[in-house]
Symmetry: C2
Amino acid sequence: MTDEKELTTVEKLYVGVQLTRPLLRNITARVEADLEGTGISVGQRAILDVLLLLGRATAPEITQILQLKRQFVGRELKELINNGMVQTELNPMHKTARIHRLTPMATKIIKEIRHRETESFTDFASRFTADEIDGFYRIQMALNEEMRKSWK
Amino acid sequence: MTDEKELTTVEKLYVGVQLTRPLLRNITARVEADLEGTGISVGQRAILDVLLLLGRATAPEITQILQLKRQFVGRELKELINNGMVQTELNPMHKTARIHRLTPMATKIIKEIRHRETESFTDFASRFTADEIDGFYRIQMALNEEMRKSWK
């Protein structure tokens, strides 16, 4: 199964899909290593990414986008506020739901991390053609869609 | 970020990599659904796959291939033996390490599951060109390799 020359197209697809589990483990380890010394956890990093993208968001909006447990997002948000990474303000539309946004310090940290990552991804991307990366992207999207519904 | 036309190649790579976490969740749910009624867990399924591939293996060999915790593999193997899915024999080379192999019943069940999966993967693969799937496969392999070492 590991000799590339002997793999059929369907086998390559199968092996590629099976790599998802070890890949996630390696990605998580990499993200953790990149966050070393910042005091930010992998879960907090995900929340900071959403706030960088949206500018401001309520806890339910963050929960929806990340598809994580509400309790987890609430707990991590609280810690980010305590650590001076996130600031909150009252939501004029809904008195109960506060709006969260990055502090200048957090914006600086997360932008630096993203910059380093973009450089690494750019280096990595240069090893493949645009068509290959486009294929990878579309297959990942389609797999996600297919696995969500029944294959029967 | 979701409008495909506006994504650069590096952004497609980034988004594709970010899909790894939800994809694994969807794959696990799909494997679980496919195992419904068989009494086999997702972890046990992985062990049965290894035994189908290798014919026979010791617990340390299975642990090595799956990169799972030794205790986890030991516990799942014990349950598979209790459920009549795996049979063991003494290893003539090492008196302490037993050799495991599938029972005829387990071979039949796992082959049927694999057959259904292969049909689904064949259907899915028909939506992409051989080059696209080859790109997907090589990018998954290369990502796994890159994430394992430092990106610095």
